[in-house]
Symmetry: C2
Subunit: 169 residues, 2 copies
């Protein structure tokens, strides 16, 4: 099957969205993909907070310099780590990265645009207080989702040659 590599390569961060709302079934599929990520000891440390409410998005936007992306995206999914279920922070962070990648790939496969926003982590404590999150929940990323209102762009990555480690003699 060739499709996955194609989606992996062609997916881009989409920061501008049409007003049209993605269907609830599409967002459920995106979350369904997320929950099937692998994790160490299968501890599944990821938790999801779905935000579509305009007022909440506007308030959330104040915690990041990428305010307009959060404000204009029809759907925002906050991904948190349940630190109460954590057993190794490095591995749990990688597992959450795998979970987010599933989310982004499924969104792309459905024809949706998405963006992984990390800058908001600079204010993770303030976000937590604003949302009154349980103290076990630590914000890891905000994922914005909607129909793309951007032109298709070229991606840019290091070549494999520059990523492969050569062993010393």
């Amino acid at each position: 099957m060739d499709d996955i590599l194609e989606v992996i390569r062609s997916r881009r961060s989409i920061r501008q969205y049409k007003k049209q709302l993605p269907g609830d079934d599409e967002i459920e599929r995106v979350l369904e993909a997320s929950r099937w990520a692998p994790s160490g000891l299968n501890n599944q440390p990821w938790r999801f907070l779905l935000i579509k409410d305009k007022e909440k998005k506007n308030s959330l936007a104040k915690f990041t310099k990428y305010a307009d992306i959060i404000r204009d995206a029809p759907v925002v999914i906050l991904v948190c780590m349940d630190t109460g279920e954590s057993y190794n922070r490095d591995k749990d962070l990688m597992a959450i990265g795998a979970c987010i990648q599933n989310m982004l790939l499924e969104a792309a496969a459905l024809g949706l645009g998405a963006c992984w926003l990390g800058e908001i982590l600079n204010k993770k404590q303030e976000v937590s207080e604003y949302l009154k999150l349980d103290e076990d929940l630590e914000l890891m990323a905000a994922i914005t989702i909607g129909y793309s209102d951007e032109d298709v762009t070229e991606g840019c990555r290091k070549s494999l040659k520059n990523l492969k480690i050569e062993l010393k003699k």
Copy 2:
């Protein structure tokens, strides 16, 4: 497109492999998928060390209690973080998780089995010394790849209901 969600859901950790070697072109595709993961500031902190040599696999196997998986897998890919290119450890770890997930999904799409091994990180310093890795390279995971010699099994994940955060009033 429905295929990605199907691959995401049906992929399993495969710990027993047939002797048959995956093709070099297949392993290149797996690495190609990996390098297209997203990362903060597009810093691409992942680096890959491909190991097929029997003697090296046997030596590497001594650093983990899952020795037989590493010994018997036709291909082992060590994924490292280039800490010299790191800008935020949490985000870089998540990016590497996304990169590994691409690897696992592309392997599954190609009909290959793979396993993400993290236990070897308990001996990451010793692995580093054995392989004489540059000091900027920090081991993050060992990924074993080959044709599955296991029966298909059911996966098990928490339900979405248990992963969704409900906001307090």
